[in-house]
Amino acid sequence: MTDLQFPNEESVLNYFQELVTSDQQVIQKVELEALLAQYSKLAKNLSRMIRISDKNENRLQNISSELNAEKKKMEAVADQLSRYLPSQVYKSIFAGDHAVEIKTKRKLLTVFFSDIKGFTEISSNLQPEVLTYYINKYFSALSDVAIRHGATIDKFIGDAMMIFFGDPESKGDKEDALACVRMAVEMQAQLSKLNAEWAEEGLQYPLLTRIGINTGWCNVGNFGSADRMAYTIIGGEVNLAARLESQCQPTGVLISGETFGLVQDFVDVEEKESVTLKGINRPVRTYSVRRLLDGSEKENLPINLDIPGHKQVHVNTPELSLPDRLAFIANLRRALLILEGPQSD
């Protein structure tokens, strides 16, 4: 027997079991009537149980369908809301890794700023609908590249874009900086193609972009009030990235010394003027990115030595044999010793 209670049914079965196993040879009509009555009741109860079970099953199916519909609705709403947040923040909130509260932390981040040269003039010369069309295409293109490189897109401010690497996800300081620089170079390449296409379409004003990148310690997290907050970054290093962007040549990528220090094996650069920024007590060296390299290319870059008062010395390192390379290194070390003079302990 199952765990269900069948006391009445069991007693009926026991009664008739006794009857069958008894010495009684003749079943009385009254006993048959009792059997019939009990069997009828049993059949009626069974039928009722089946109907009750089916009703419950239908009810559960309906509830399940309603819950599925509600779940789909919530997923659609969540998907729409996700467009207003950096995708990594959205994912980490749903994973339970990101608390939605006013809270920040200090972290080493690589920060990116971009904007369009002469945007004020461009926007006064274009119809609003045309401007909207192209600026959305512009931001879509840059956002696609950013997402592919794992960037956290912080915000769009007019024609400017602010992005950072290192939070909520980080692959390490070097990898983050490198991903940012690679992203920036790809953005400029992509924009070059797009500006050519848009010129074909009739856009008279190319959207030439300046990009500034800096790596430094920032405060990252939720700023604002408990009722309305924004996930973003603040700090002097963020301001420096913005300043670099304003110094950058259109279609260029200008990176700080800090960023260069992390990516130097993978970029060919030209050093530019240092910048000073209020609140940062040292001039910041800046570098314009010429092109990306793979790690081995760095060994074969030509060397250009600028010596004040003398002609520039050019050494085409790919042409140096190994013995010549080693001899050159030894000569440079001797020159360094002479230039630095005796070192006091």
């Binding site: 765990d3 269900l4 209670q5 069948f6 006391p7 009445n8 109860n45 009722r48 149980m49 109907r51 009750i52 079970s53 009703k55 419950n56 239908n58 009810r59």
Partner: protein, 126 residues
């Protein structure tokens, strides 16, 4: 006979028998992991109480939001005992309470009412 007061839990209803006021109430959701274990003892006491001779009306209130098939069997057997007691001369009223838009629970009450011809039966919407 003593009162019974079993509070509701996640899968079982509250089960109360007030012998002085002759009131039995089963309220909540019923899908116990072990139906026999939950119901055997208290329901046998309730059946024993209902089967006694009573001068005044005995009221049995069912106010369930959901019950599974094995719980339905318990309710069915209880209704059989109620009907038997009513046929024996006791005045017994069964109140079947259901939430306003819960047609399913109303229909289930109507199913059980088919068992009751001597006992009084009332469907109550809340």
């Amino acid at each position: 006979m003593e009162n019974i007061q079993i509070p509701a839990a996640q899968r079982t209803p509250s089960l109360n028998l007030d012998v002085v006021n002759r009131l039995f109430v089963l309220e909540g959701e019923s899908y116990p992991e072990d139906t026999r274990k939950f119901y055997e003892e208290p329901i046998s006491q309730v059946v024993a109480f209902i089967s006694q001779k009573h001068q005044d009306q005995v009221t049995c209130k069912f106010k369930l939001k959901y019950f599974n098939s094995s719980s339905a069997k318990v309710i069915m057997d209880l209704c059989t005992a109620i009907e038997s007691s009513a046929k024996g001369g006791n005045r017994i009223k069964v109140e079947w309470h259901y939430i306003a838009d819960d047609d399913n629970m109303k229909e289930l009450g109507e199913e059980f009412s088919e068992e009751l011809s001597s006992a009084e039966f009332e469907l109550i919407e809340y």
